[in-house]
């Protein structure tokens, strides 16, 4: 599909930020959309965990009748590695609407919002076989930083993808290390210790 075609199609949709007072309207649809690709559902608390604290980092694509077509859910907080880290927790687009740039648009909005809030970096995990998702993120500037063996419950392996938004981010270090109390053998900052136990 040509870039223009994608733009045109995408324009029929409305892209809106999530609003906490609309939880009843949107949350069921978000849950339904996200859990379609999960063999095991997240509890409502997982959604609320993100939406309550970072609702402004959640964007939705709605069609003309306000049906949910796509959604991205994120968080942004200081990470123990010393960076202000954004995390894309969930992303999904309704099957019939895929391949039209909708997810790309949603992710771009989320990144812009996190960048505006001074994020150093944005990270996420995705299955090594999820070509669509890898392509989408890598086109935007994400690099693979780690391979995570058996990251998902189903035994599948993931890539950690990372996008640094500011120069110098790679040089930030956990406070403990700066003070020189990094214990040898404790493997601080090992991927295991820093990774969120869920992946989009």
């Amino acid at each position: 599909m040509s870039e223009q075609g994608a733009e045109l199609k995408a324009e029929e949709l409305q892209y809106v930020q999530y609003q906490a007072d609309k939880e009843e309207t949107y949350l069921p649809a978000i849950r339904q959309l996200i859990s379609r690709d999960l063999s095991e559902p997240y509890s409502i608390y997982v959604y609320r965990y993100f939406l309550y604290q970072w609702g402004d980092l959640c964007y939705m694509a709605l069609d003309s009748s306000n049906a949910l077509i796509g959604v991205v859910v994120c968080k942004l907080e200081p990470h123990r590695s010393g960076t202000f880290r954004g995390y894309i927790a969930m992303l999904a687009v309704q099957e019939p609407h895929r391949g039209k740039g909708i997810a790309t648009k949603l992710v771009c909005m989320a990144i812009d919002a996190m960048a505006a809030r001074d994020a150093d970096e944005i990270v996420l995990e995705t299955e090594v076989t999820n070509t669509a998702s890898l392509k989408l993120y890598e086109r935007l500037g994400f690099l693979r930083s780690k391979r995570l063996h058996r990251y998902y419950l189903n035994g599948n392996t993931a890539f950690r993808l990372v996008l640094h938004l500011k120069p110098g981010t790679a040089l930030k270090r956990p406070i403990a290390v700066e003070l020189g109390i990094d214990q040898p053998g404790q493997y601080q900052g090992y991927p295991s210790a820093s990774h969120d136990p869920m992946g989009p």
Binding site: E23, E24, I34, D37, L38, E40, P41, Y42, S43, I44, Y45, V46, Y49, Y52, Q53, K75, R80, L91, A115, E127, V128, N130, E138, R139, L140, L143, R144, S145, K146, R147, L148, H149, R150, Y151, Y152, L153, N154, G155, F159, V162, L163, L165, P167, T169, A170, L171, P184, G185, Y187, G189, Y190, S192, A193, S194, H195, D196, P197, M198, G199, P200
Partner: protein, 778 residues
């Protein structure tokens, strides 16, 4: 989107880590002497029930409908562990209308011999599924029989039956059920051994192996011979034939399974003496063949495995599907486990030499398919068993102390002067300095070996951290080197010792690890094609430094050699011989790093050319900047001393020697696309690349000629050979690709070709770390 990893977060009894979500994957502590026995660690909590309905209702009435309250301490970790009651997908206690909470499968019902075989084989499949990393709750613990044996917890083994309490004689299990019981008991003990073995080493709960036993005690206290006796008795009863009459073919198949189980149990035994280890694994391979060929005799008994048992195992996790590993897969995993353990048993008989050990560990970690957690722990156990040599000392002796006065054994025989005010004799000072440094090096060395025992993904990540540890060691080595130098000065022995020997040794090892870390990145498809050029050029830089270091070492060896030869004393000549032999190792290292250096450079240049020819996709990447991405790539190496990462502009000079890849077709820039194309159409453009390929091949040939002996890899001769050959094959493939480009190049750019990048892990590359793009005609 895939399933979230939230399993053990919710099920484990571990304290939630202070740093929030994700930390649950911490390495299990391996340092605590005794194996952590999970089964013993999980006391059954006393249950108290409080009615909170009133309190809850009152508290709720203070809230608006839909109003959310978030507790400050409610973490992502907890939200993931939370369940929604009455949602059938999450609430394992939820019953559909009319559904019973328990199965009504009768564990005392008579079994046909075929069914017995079927159950045994299915158990074996689940056992292997567990070994590959799935929890017991989705595998073995779905067996109704095993459940009956383990719950309620039997006080003595006799209570572990397919029933509890008293039963009438007519209900008593028949011979085949007794046989199944013996098999199951031994199987459970096998699990106990496996858990104990794995938890005694560094492993990672979620990604490698699940140790949870859901409060079931896997006969931790019962000694192995009890299970062996049960199995033997079963075999006897079957063979005796007075109690049951079974078709001999079926009987033999059952006996083979019992025998296999006994052999497996024996091999897994924790206390098995270290010699003759290998003898335990070979019979298993033979036994497995019999099982495989008689597998079709079995008949499945669907009701004997049930998901409903999960309800009683863990009420705090959603119901999860039974993991179905098909028998072909399961048997091949089992075969792999046996073969890998058998391979590991060769470790104790290796020459006592840290480089031999290192090569063995590397080869083991590189086996395909990658060894299972059990096999890795098995090797780690042998590895850390005991050793008569000081590993770091022996290691540095080979590289930097050829017949050196610093390691002269007499240094360790001197005693300090009585009067502590008097200076210690210089030789004693040397011994003390070296001893202290060896102590200091112990931990980083241990971390290095530990990394080599991890799964492949973690090996790469861990290496990056081990590199930092060695970086710190390097700076400490510098201080000790100064001290050594002073003492050597006092002894007037300057010419006999390499400058900065300890630093050299540490730095060499660090650079070796860096090379491996980059190659592992390629192997694991961490880099995208348009990053290949930069990463291979970086690799080239690292190995160039290693080569320079080795050249200094080599000249010191030669220096030492001529000193010793001119000395002409018997001991001098003896030492000269040692140095001469030691030089072979240095030559082997030189050849190895030269191959890496040259092939890295050739590939780097190759991919630079492809970028200019627009034969590599370059994502637009609207976010971040090239400089940020460069930093991200170099992140693990940014803080090293000496600095290993060049400035971004310098990096650009190499990856973009002709300026940006996309070119305006005007003459305002030095290199227009036209000019570049024309240049590339000239064969001389490619001759540099061809020269590096040639040198890489030459280095590979030399390395091969020097052989595994020189490389200290006689213990893994075959694997070593294969590694060298596959590097050689990569050189050849690159030569072919360069030729393809040369032929396709023209004044308007290349015509009629595309590049195919062989993906990793599918046998499409000659060497997983060397990605050689294939030129394809279209």
């Amino acid at each position: 989107m895939a399933e979230p990893q939230l399993g053990h977060a919710a099920t484990s009894n571990n304290v939630v880590p202070v740093d929030g979500p994700g930390s649950s994957k911490e390495a299990s502590s391996a340092s605590i002497g005794l194996p952590l026995r999970q089964a013993m660690k999980q006391p059954v909590a006393e249950i108290k029930i409080h009615d909170i309905t009133d309190k809850f209702t009152r508290a709720c009435s203070a809230l608006e409908v839909g109003q959310l309250v978030k507790d400050e301490y409610f973490t992502l970790f907890e939200s993931i562990g939370a369940l929604e009651i009455m949602d059938p997908k999450m609430d394992s206690g939820f019953l559909q209308p009319g559904e019973a909470s328990e199965d009504d499968y009768d564990t005392l019902g008579a079994l046909l011999p075929e069914e017995l075989i079927g159950i045994m084989d299915q158990l074996l499949c689940y056992e292997m599924a567990w070994h590959t990393g799935y929890p017991l709750s989705q595998t073995l613990f779905t067996s109704v029989y095993i459940d009956k044996l383990l719950w309620p917890e039997p006080k003595v083994l006799e209570q572990a039956q397919f029933y509890r309490g008293e039963i009438t004689d007519d209900k008593r299990p028949g011979v085949l059920l007794e046989v199944l019981r013996a098999y199951c008991l031994a199987l459970v003990k096998c699990c106990d051994f496996a858990i104990a073995r794995i938890t005694s080493r560094d492993y990672f709960e979620e990604e490698d192996f699940c140790t949870h036993t859901y409060n079931r005690v896997l006969f931790v206290q019962v000694p192995m011979n009890v299970f062996q006796r049960e199995l033997d008795a079963s075999v006897e009863r079957l063979q005796d034939g007075t109690e049951v009459e079974i078709n001999p073919i079926l009987r033999d198949a059952i006996v083979a399974r019992l025998q296999f189980r006994k052999d497996f149990l024996t091999a897994l035994d924790l206390d098995v003496p270290i010699d003759h280890l290998e003898a335990h694994w070979q019979p298993l391979l033979d036994g497995l063949t019999t099982i495989t060929t008689t597998q079709q005799l079995g008949k499945t008994v669907p009701g004997s495995f049930s998901l409903k048992i999960q309800r009683r195992l863990a009420s705090t996790v959603p119901p999860r599907p039974i993991v179905e590993l098909d028998s072909a897969d399961a048997f091949s995993k089992l075969k792999q486990l046996i073969t890998d353990c058998k391979e590991a048993t060769r470790f104790p008989s290796l020459p006592p030499d840290p480089i031999e050990y290192q090569n063995f560990l590397w080869a083991f970690a590189s086996r395909t398919p990658t060894p299972l957690p059990y096999s890795r722990s098995y090797l780690a156990n042998l590895l850390f068993h005991e050793s008569s040599i000081s590993i770091p000392l022996a290691d540095m002796r080979y590289l930097v102390f050829p017949a050196s006065p610093i390691l002269d054994p007499t240094n360790w025989t001197l005693s300090p002067p009585r009067n502590p005010m008097l200076p210690k004799p210089p030789r004693l000072q040397l011994a003390i300095l070296i001893d202290d440094f060896i102590d200091r090096a112990g931990q980083p060395y241990l971390e290095f070996w530990t990394a080599l025992g991890q799964n492949r993904c973690r090996l790469r990540r861990m290496l990056n951290h081990v590199i930092s540890a060695w970086d710190q060691l390097q700076s400490d080595a510098g201080v000790v080197d100064e001290d050594l130098k002073n003492v050597i000065g006092q002894m007037n022995a300057e010419g006999q010792v390499l400058d900065y020997p300890l630093t050299t040794w540490v730095y060499h090892k660090k650079l070796w690890m860096m090379e491996k870390a980059v190659l592992l990145g390629f192997e694991q498809d961490i880099y995208l094609p348009d990053e290949y050029a930069g990463m291979y050029l970086f690799l080239n830089n690292v190995s160039r430094k290693r080569k320079d270091l080795l050249l200094t070492v080599k000249s010191d060896f030669n220096n030492r050699l001529s000193q010793l030869r001119s000395n002409k004393s018997a001991s001098g000549l003896q030492k000269a011989k040692e140095v001469q032999d030691g030089l072979l190792y240095i030559d082997s290292l030189l050849a190895e790093t030269t191959a890496t250096l040259e092939l890295g450079l050739a590939l780097g240049k190759f991919y630079v050319a492809l970028l200019y020819l627009d034969l590599i996709p370059r994502p637009k990447r609207p976010f971040g900047s090239e400089q940020c991405r460069y930093e991200l790539r170099m992140k693990n190496f940014l803080n090293l001393h000496p600095s290993e990462v060049t400035e971004f502009s310098e990096f650009n000079n190499h990856t973009k020697p002709f300026g940006p890849y996309e070119k305006p077709d005007t003459d305002e820039v030095d290199y227009t696309k036209d000019k570049i194309f024309k240049w590339m159409a000239n064969p001389t453009f490619w001759s540099g690349m061809e020269e590096h390929v040639r040198r890489a091949k030459e280095a590979c040939s030399l390395l091969r000629k020097l052989g595994p002996q020189a490389a200290h890899a006689v213990g893994v001769r075959e694997a070593w050979d294969k590694e060298v050959q596959s590097t050689m094959a990569s050189c050849v493939a690159l030569g072919v690709a360069v030729l393809g480009l040369k032929l396709a190049a023209g004044a308007e750019g290349p015509r009629g070709i595309t590049i195919e990048f062989p993906t990793g892990g599918q046998g499409k590359r000659y060497h997983e770390g060397w990605v050689v793009g294939k030129v394809i005609k279209v």
